[in-house]
Amino acid sequence: MILRLLILSLFISLPRLAAAEPYATELNDAWRARITALAAPKTLSAPFTESRFTPLKKKPVVVEGVVRIARDRGLSLAYSQTRAPVVILDERGLLLRHADGREQSAPPQAESDLRLLHALFAFDLVALEKVYALTASDAPDGTWTLAFSRRPDTDTPYRELTLSGEASRLTGIGLLKTDKQKIEIRLEPPQINPVFTPEEIARYFR
């Protein structure tokens, strides 16, 4: 009797266990394996080119830099302009670290939006699923796209977040607020699991 009850309860709980996976219907096992591979490196460093589209200018403003990711510390963007601050995005939010040592935090009201951005870079699908619907697509040329579209009943400022890549490499990130106001980041081939020196950690992370 007890054995039958145990078997019955196991059958009842199985669909629930399956449903606990984020984006259970949108992502198949191949996608999950790809995302796991993308999230696998403990550290990563890659040059990038960022195109900022603003309604004020007819053409995007293009800047370059290096992105550094340490899974246990967060993400850091170092721009090539001489006076540009280092942008640090981690679990504590956004920090701008200026060349003179001054640090600026993002206002608390931006915290939830920044958490979502952090979730995007950390491939935290559980956090993203609450706010964004997902469309995953593969192209014949071997490229792929994960498009996160804002759910109707949420108020996050980013209408769409996009990750694009080739095989197990991330090549592009898109952050779209409006058609005229968006950021497109193109990533060069990364250095996987580089060892950041203590000086690099002190300068690019917190």
């Binding site: 603003t54 004020l56 200018k57 053409k59 403003v61 721009y79 302009q81 701008l96 950021i183």
Partner: protein, 762 residues
């Protein structure tokens, strides 16, 4: 029959009159525990007056609250807490700092007046660069090119992601550059995870009754409201009200304790010298009448009396009991009471008169506390002496059966001068080591636990003691702002200012921007900027809000500088309103710096408000005034003694209290005591008391054993009552007690050993 009851009737009438008067007054109205009321209301120095008013006014009404609760319920609990405070009549406002609504209000306010408030400073900075570059291009065109380049550079910076919406109306980056300059002013302290910070302002001064109990009740109600949402919430708060309430409760308890202990000490000392102990109870009524008279007269003379006067005035029991001893112990068999009075009239009136005169000199002081103390003790001594004479007229045969303890003069005549020389030398060495430090906090009951919590809460709000706080004053907004700029320009490198003045243009820059020439240049600039920015790839249609508002700004006549400032400051939200101070003397801007520095002499009109230093400087000035009063008292004492006894004996009589005082100062200095105003007052009181003993020692009656016992008993009871003051936790009361006790004990030793050869040998 009536004649024999007359003293009793007078005593009863006096008691009823004084009691009736005291019952008729409102104690909340007439007695105060406000430490700032110890200083003169009509302080001459306007800067000090302003510092005093700042301590008493809005800045003192701020209450800081830290809430700690699980993150999920924290925001709602903080909102409920603040809403509860706002709904209370005890609070004017309460803002959870995390919601930053006041910062948004400030941002909207500055945005609406950005061209009036921010453009003049921006324009002046650009013109300085233009002059430095020695550019040959016309200024409006040069400025348009430079503004376009700055906008381009900003769009290439990471910060631009958050400013896109603002740039449509502010492509000159006026608000953004201000945000950088004033970041320390508007930044909310970063609360640790699980903590919420609330800034609140009470309606009444924390030093008043309405600013204490109702405030504590409102805080308790707010805590209950927050606890309903977060049961495990932890609340910490600080504010002047908590210190004031604690000080009031402690001071009241101290007054009762000190007076009771002083009375007990006097009775204990008396018991050592008197056999009929039950007779000592007869000493209590004159002391009580003396205290009653002292309180009644002081409240009649002063509209408000500080309760510290009564703590310090507890010495009165030690002084008032003297007359009872002198009168009763000098009783002789078969001598009528009136004959005894005639015999003792001169030493009694001489001793009391010198003491009363010494205390009355204190009424010339600038300090209300010192004036009140002078009246309190002088009135107490007069009523005490009167009550003693009347009371013991009812008991003319009262005999306390004194114990006569013979003490040999152990200083032989030939050693007296060398001993006096040695004592003078010790005094001189000690006095050269006297270190003065006047601190208003020595008047307060110490509350270390409250101080610790206060420091912890303020640290959570980002307040530290590392920097300085300045108040820059001027007769007008323009003068105050100009002086503030001069201070900033003269500050050492690395010093960063946070102050409300940074939000406003320098008057000279404002005048330049609003002059007809300035407006003409701005008009040319804006049209050129439209062309140049479009050539640089900007979409002019997107910048429509800027061009529309700029045209309106140029079209409307500029407001008067004073009007602009007043309108802006009147609407300042949240804590920022505390950073400007206006009164009949003009305007004051409060500013803080990241590191302390001394105000350069050229920076006119700026006062340092760091900690309580400003008020302590004032206090030091009052001490200097009290020192002058003390010197006058000493001179008067010498003159009176010389008049009474002739120059030879007069100088000896006066030398006894003066050496006792000098030696006491020397010994206290050698023991490492730091001196303040109350050591000086103690010395003055001690000299007056010691002078009494010198007079009695020289009186014709002094050679008798009863009179010697009376002097001992008087001195020791006075020393006992003053030494009780050394139990006080209030440093000023301790200082007074220690100084007087030492002087009286030394004076007694000098009398007993007849060091100054005052005794008249029969």
């Amino acid at each position: 029959m009536f004649r024999s009851k007359l003293p009793l009737l007078i005593l009863i009438a006096f008691t009823v009159l004084c009691g009736g008067w005291l019952l008729s007054i409102d104690p909340h109205e007439r007695f105060t525990t406000d430490v700032t009321e110890l200083l003169p209301v009509g302080e001459r120095d306007p800067e000090a007056r302003l510092a005093l008013s700042l301590v008493k006014e809005r800045q003192a009404r701020v209450v800081l609250v830290v809430l700690k609760a699980p993150a999920a319920r924290l925001t709602a609990a903080a909102e409920a807490y603040a809403a509860s405070l706002r709904s209370s009549s005890a609070f004017v406002s309460a803002e959870p700092l995390a919601d930053q609504s006041w910062q948004h209000a400030l941002g909207r306010q500055l945005h609406a007046r950005r061209f009036e408030l921010l453009l003049p400073t921006w324009l002046a900075e650009q013109r300085r660069v233009y002059v430095a570059e020695k550019s040959t291009a016309p200024f409006p065109g040069w400025l348009a090119t430079r503004a376009t380049a700055a906008l381009d550079a900003h769009l290439a910076s990471p910060e631009s992601a958050a400013t896109a919406d603002l740039l449509r109306s502010d492509p000159l980056l006026l608000l953004l550059s201000l945000a950088e300059k004033a970041s320390s002013l508007t930044a909310s302290p970063a609360a640790a995870s699980g903590q919420a910070l609330i800034w609140a302002e009470t309606r009444a001064s924390p030093l008043s009754e309405d600013g204490q109990e109702p405030v504590f009740a409102a805080l308790a109600a707010a805590e209950s409201a927050a606890r309903a949402l977060a049961p495990d919430i932890a609340v910490r708060s600080t504010g002047v009200a908590r210190f004031a309430a604690a000080a009031k409760a402690s001071t009241k308890a101290e007054i009762g304790k000190l007076n009771l202990f002083a009375l007990a000490a006097v009775l204990f000392v008396s018991a050592l010298f008197i056999r009929r102990l039950h007779g000592l109870l007869n000493l209590i009524p004159p002391i009580l009448v003396s205290m009653l008279g002292a309180v009644a007269v002081t409240t009649l003379v002063f509209p408000r009396v500080h309760v510290l006067v009564f703590a310090l005035g507890s010495l009165l029991s030690g002084v008032a009991v003297d007359y009872g001893f002198q009168l009763v112990l000098a009783r002789r068999d078969n001598e009528s009471y009136s004959a005894r009075l005639r015999r003792l009239a001169i030493p009694l009136l001489g001793g009391a008169g010198t003491t009363v005169a010494g205390f009355l000199v204190l009424t010339l002081s600038e300090l209300p506390l010192v004036r009140q103390l002078g009246v309190y003790v002088a009135a107490g001594i007069v009523t005490g002496l009167g009550a003693t004479l009347l009371y013991f007229a009812l008991l003319p045969r009262l005999d306390l059966a004194p114990r006569n303890l013979p003490v040999r003069n152990f200083v032989p005549s030939r050693w007296r001068l060398p001993v006096i020389g040695v004592l003078l030398l010790v005094s001189a060495i000690g006095i050269t080591r006297v270190h003065w430090n006047d601190d208003l906090r020595t008047l307060e009951y110490p509350s270390p636990d409250l101080r610790t919590e206060d420091a912890a809460v303020r640290a959570t709000f980002g307040e530290t003691d590392a920097g300085s706080t300045f108040l820059t004053r001027g007769a007008s907004f323009a003068e105050a702002r100009t002086r503030w700029q001069a201070l900033v320009n003269k500050a050492p490198a690395g010093v960063r200012f946070a102050g409300i003045a940074a939000l406003f243009p320098d008057p000279a820059d404002y005048a330049a921007a609003t002059s007809p020439e300035g407006r003409k240049e701005l008009s040319l600039f804006v049209s050129t900027f439209g062309v140049i920015s479009e050539d640089a790839g900007f979409d002019k249609k997107e910048l429509f809000p800027f061009f529309r508002d700029f045209s309106a700004y140029l079209f409307n006549p500029p407001p008067d500088y004073e009007v602009l400032m007043r309108e802006t400051l009147d609407a300042l939200p949240g804590p920022l309103g505390l950073l400007v101070h206006t009164d009949e003397d003009g305007v004051g801007f409060l500013s803080t710096t990241n590191q302390a520095f001394t105000i350069p002499p050229e920076a006119e009109g700026t006062l340092s408000l760091s900690g309580i230093e400003g008020l302590n400087t004032l206090f030091a000035r009052y001490r200097a005034a009290a020192a002058r009063l003390s010197l006058f008292s000493c001179l008067a004492l010498v003159v009176v003694s010389c008049c009474l006894h002739g120059p030879r004996i007069g100088l000896r009589t006066a030398s006894l209290p003066l050496l006792a005082a000098a030696l006491s100062f020397g010994l206290l200095a050698l023991s490492g005591q730091v001196f303040g105003l109350f050591h000086l007052l103690g010395a003055l009181l001690g000299v007056c008391l010691a002078d009494d003993y010198a007079h009695f020692a020289h009186s014709d009656d002094a050679s008798g054993p009863e009179a010697r016992t009376a002097i001992r008993l008087s001195g020791l009871s006075t020393a006992a009552s003053f030494s009780i003051l050394m139990l006080s936790a209030i440093p000023a009361v301790f200082a007074l007690g220690a100084t007087v006790t030492l002087i009286v004990v030394l004076a007694l030793v000098f009398v007993e050993t007849d060091l100054f050869s005052l005794r008249v040998h029969a």
